[in-house]
Amino acid sequence: MIEYIIAAMFAGLLLHGIHRKVIARIQGRPGPPIWQEILHTLKFLGKESWIPKTASQGVYVAVVGISIAIWTAALMLLITQESLLLLFALYVLHKIVEHGIGLASGSPYAKFGAIRSVVSAASELPLLSSVALIYLITGSLMLRDIEAYQAINGPLLIVAFPAAVALYLVILSKIHYGPFSIVEAKEIVSGYWTEHFGVWRGLMNAAFGLKTFVLLYTFVVVFIGPIGLPLTLLAILILMITLSFVCAATPMLSPYDSVTVQTLTTGLIAIYIIYLGVFA
């Protein structure tokens, strides 16, 4: 199991690096090398680290562990092909990690990041509507059943296109430098993880790399279906590059615009689901 975890972490960090490179190239800059984020993480691991005196020690350390545990659990979920609803739960619990990081240190910048994270609670809802739509179509939320369904009926991407859009939006709202990443906007320094440095920062970085990999992998597994590991990785790479294009081309929205866009999307998908559930 540990080999999967480590491999997924490195893959996710590599994806982050590719993300930065693509954004830089689109914007006409040379950009960092694609393994920059891996080096970054290793560099942070080697830095002096302690806990700030003002911090709430338990939460300060626990959120690092919890964020690793959550995304490890999500990866294990994909490996053992358990329920998609549980993946949704883990994703929502990631919100607690964001709040916890922001509130633990006592720094006002981190706190602002946490408040923005509270405000953008609407970003979880597209995933719920996506899960609901998949349940309506396949009649099951277990990943193995979804794969079996796709083996017979072709990829869900075509049938459940709005759900795919919703999940895409969810991934977009969690990716760095994206239009919805108001929680780590530069006017509040680094947002909610401003005060996590050294080891803590390095491990958070690794956990977020794992998160990116797991979310993209979920997208491919759920909407394109079982296509073998090399093709899956290729699909993940293509997906990441499309996300980078979106991030490079759009400015960061203001907090309330961001929430409005996310809420509107959720509302539209909810209407589509109600339409499907009632009339179809």
């Binding site: 199991m1 540990i2 080999e3 975890i5 691991l45 080697g46 830095k47 002096e48 680290s49 302690w50 806990i51 700030p52 005196k53 003002t54 020690q57 350390v61 690092v64 562990g65 919890i66 690793i68 545990a69 490890t72 659990a73 294990m76 490996i79 053992t80 050294g198 080891v199 390095g202 491990l203 690794a206």
Partner: protein, 67 residues
């Protein structure tokens, strides 16, 4: 916290993780059980390894309170 303890935790959890992984592949332990135990052990292992890395900079014990 003493560096010694961190080292011990890192080694024990690392060995356990590897054992679990092998056992999971060899069907000695059921895969879901191995997965759950790995989820619990992974943060412990990674945090302690990270703390060991950073302890290289400041020789000796790992200080926990600062500022």
């Amino acid at each position: 916290m003493k560096r010694h303890y961190v080292q011990l935790i890192a080694i024990i959890s690392g060995i356990l993780l590897i054992v679990l992984s092998v056992a999971g592949h060899q069907d000695i332990v059921q895969v879901p059980v191995a997965a759950v135990l790995s989820i619990v052990l992974a943060p412990v292992f990674l945090i302690s390894v990270g703390l060991l890395f950073s302890a290289e900079v400041i020789d000796g014990d790992i200080p926990f309170m600062g500022y």
